[in-house]
Symmetry: C2
Subunit: 457 residues, 2 copies
Amino acid sequence: MPNAIDRFLEQNLETYLQETMKLCAQPSVSATGEGVRECADLVEQILQKHGLKTQKFEGYGNPVVVGRAKGRSERTLLFYNHYDVQPPEPLELWDSPPFAPQIRDGKLYARGAKDDKGEFMARLAAVDAVRAAHGGELPCGVLFVVEGNEEVGSPGIAKFVQDHLDLLKCDGAIWEEGGIDFEERPGTSLGRRGILAVELEVKTLSRDAHSGNAHILPSAAWRMVRALASLKDENERILIPGFYDQVRPISEEDLELLRRLPDLEPYLRETFGVRGFVNNLQGFELRKAVFNPTCNIQGITTGYQGPGNKTVIPAKASAKLDFRLVPDQDPTDILKKLRVHLDAEGFTDVRITYTDYMFPARSDPKHPLVRLAAQAGEEVYGKPYQLIPLTGGSSPVYAFAGPLGIPVIDAGVGFGITNRTHAPNENIRLQDFHNAARHIARILDGFADLWSGEGSS
Amino acid sequence: MPNAIDRFLEQNLETYLQETMKLCAQPSVSATGEGVRECADLVEQILQKHGLKTQKFEGYGNPVVVGRAKGRSERTLLFYNHYDVQPPEPLELWDSPPFAPQIRDGKLYARGAKDDKGEFMARLAAVDAVRAAHGGELPCGVLFVVEGNEEVGSPGIAKFVQDHLDLLKCDGAIWEEGGIDFEERPGTSLGRRGILAVELEVKTLSRDAHSGNAHILPSAAWRMVRALASLKDENERILIPGFYDQVRPISEEDLELLRRLPDLEPYLRETFGVRGFVNNLQGFELRKAVFNPTCNIQGITTGYQGPGNKTVIPAKASAKLDFRLVPDQDPTDILKKLRVHLDAEGFTDVRITYTDYMFPARSDPKHPLVRLAAQAGEEVYGKPYQLIPLTGGSSPVYAFAGPLGIPVIDAGVGFGITNRTHAPNENIRLQDFHNAARHIARILDGFADLWSGEGSS
C-alpha cells in the first residue's frame, strides 16, 4: 500500500525529525561511557511510545534493548540498530556542538544523526506508516535489536544472539544502515569485512628523559616506529607470516558484481581531497581492493605533542591498530600471528591488548528478501539496484546471519562518508531520512508475502 | 676569603631560598609563552634588588635581561642563565603543582627549581657573599645575561651577543648550571653538542576517514611511520646521506679524558629503570657514545588518542625530532641534507619546519679559569675535579665562546637528571644550592687574581 504509506510519512515527517533530534541530544559515547545508560533508557521509552513491547538485557556490555510487535503473519523481520556513537573529537572542527542537534540547509547535524540514531528513527517511522496503512495491524512481526556497543566493536552481541536464539527467531534482517550509495543508487551489501583492533604499547624507561641522552637511553617512540614498520611493506603487503593464509581468491561471480558497480574514483578524490590512492590504484582496481585485508593505524601516542618543542626521549609509546579481514580470515587467528610476528622480529617488549574483533560475513544474493528490497528500492529511488559483494567496514552481521540462518540486507540512509560518519559535522539529509522510511516501509509491507506461495508447494 | 663567604651564606641561606620560591611561582614556559614577560620583569627587579644595574633587550625573542656591577679590577666574569622553563606536562605526575613551590625532605620542588631559576639565585647569593666579604665592593666586575628562550633553543641569543660585543666584553663565563656530577664529583664540561630540532608534517586526506576505506585511502600515520623509519637503521646509524661527513674522529686527548670519567651505567640503570642501552652499549662504550650524533623523536601526533578505539584513517601526522650534533657538524647543513634525503626516499609530501638549531662548541681545558674552578670545586666538595670533553645536551655556549673569545665553564647545582630536569617533580636539594653558591663565590673571589701577574710579564 505504497500510497497510504507515502501519505502517512509525508504528513508526519516533522514529528519523527523532532524525535530524532531529542535522541541525538543524548550523548552515548561507548568508547568513554558518556551517557550510554541514559540513552538506553531513552531508546526503550521511544520503542514503547511506538507500540513495541520492550526488554532490556544486561550482561553484554552496555544494555541491549529489544522491541517487538506482532503482525498478521508469523513471519518476522528483524532490525539491527545501535544507540551508541563515536567520540565527537576533534570538537573544534564542528560548526555546531555535536550533542546540540541543529537543522540547517535541509540537513540535521549531530553526532549520531546518521550513525545510527537517524537510521533507527526512520525505521520506527516506517513501522508506524505500515501499521497505519494496514488499519492498525502490521502485516508481519517486527523485532528491533538496538545495542550500545557497536562503535567499540560489539563485543557482546554475538553472545547475546547465541543466548537468545528463540527470542530472536526471524526470517530476515535489515542491517543498521545503507540502502543507497553516494550517488543515491539503491543497493545492498552482501558482505562485511571482519576486524581485529589492538593497542600496541611499549615502555623503555621509567620516565621521559632529556634528549641529550639519546645516544644511550632507548626511546619508546623509535621502538614503536620500528615495530609498526615491521608490519607492512611499502606496497601495503602485510608482513605477518600466515596473514593471507585464509584469504579466498575473488570468485568470478564477485568479480562480475564488482564490474557492475560504479567508479568510486571521482567521488573519493573530491570527498577526501586525495591526490593518489593506496598503491596508485585506479578504476576497477579500486573496487577490487575491498578484497584486500588491511592494517590501519588509528592513532599513535608518544612523547611531547604540545606547541614548540620539548627535548625529551619518550618513555612510553602506544599505537591503536585495526586490521580489516576478508572471508575466511579469523581475527583470533590473526591476533596469535601478530604476537608470533612481533616476537620473531625482536619486539617481545611490545604489549598487545586486543580491543575489538569481528568475523567477516556474506549473505546469499539470491534470497527473495534481496529481490523485494531491490524492487522497493527501484520504486523509491528510480534507479537500478546494486549488489555489492563486500564492503570495507565491519559490523556484527556475522553474529546474526549464521546462528539465526537468515539473510541480512541493508536499507537505510546510505553511504556514510557523505554524512561525515565518525567525523566532525556528522549529518543526515532530511530527504534521505524520508526516502529511507519509504523504502523500509515497502519492504515491511511486502515481507510476509514472500512466503505466501509456500503452503501450496 | 672563604671563611667570610661561607659565614654569609650560612646565615642568609633561608632568604635566598624564599626568593627562589617566589621566582619559581612565576610560570615562564617559553614553548607556550605562558608568563614569560612577567618573569622577565621579576628577574630585572631581583637583579636590581641585589645591586646590579639592569637593561632589558627586546627584539631577540623573549626579553634578554642583563645585569652588571663593577668591581675593583677591570676583569669581568659573565654568568649565563635563563628565566624560561620547560612545559610542566604531564601534570598528573607531579606530587605538588609545578608552579606552587614546596620544600619537603630537604628539597625545593617546582618547575624551574633547578633549570634554571635555582641556579640563577645561587649565583646572586654568591655575588652578595663576595661583596660582603670584601667590605661592599666586588673584586671583579660581574655581568649577568638572563635570557628567556633557552628551553626553545635560544634562537635569538647568538644575534644578541653579536649585536652587543662591547656591552658583553668579559674575561670568562660560567654557564647556566653544572659543576658537580650525579655523585657530587666536581668538574666541568668542555663542550656541548649542537642541535637541530624540526617538525615533520604530512597530510594525505582533507579529513580523517573511516578505516573501512584503508584499502584505498592513503594514511598520514603510515606515511609518517615510513618517513621516520627511513631516517635511522636498527643499529642507530642515521641514514641521511652525508650526515656524518663533518664528524671528527675522537681525539686521543678526549679518549683520555673520557677514561678518567666515572662509569655511568649503574646510575642510569637505576634512574631510568632501563634493561638495556642503545645498541647494547656497556661500560666505557657508554661514555664514548656522547661523540655519536643522534636522531631523537620528541613526540608523534596522529589520529585518535583517547580511550577505546576509533576506526579512523588519520588525515594528518606530525613528528617532532631533534638531532644532537657533534663537532664539526653544522645544523644548517644537516637541515638541507634531511630535505634531500626525504625527497630521495619519495617523501616530498613530508613538510619540514625547523624549530631550533645550535652549533656544537668546545672550550680549552688549559685556561686558568678551569684551574681556578677546579681548585674551588675540590675545596667545596672534597673530591678531584673532572674534565668532561663533551656533554650530550646543547646550549648556546657557541654563541658566547666564539665571538667573545672567552672560556666557558660550568659551576652550579650539577647533574640535571637527579633533579628531574625537564620532567615532573623537578627539584633542587637545598644542600646543592648552598654548595653551588659557595663554589661560585670562591671563583668570583679569585677571578681577578688570575691576571695579577700579567703586568710584570
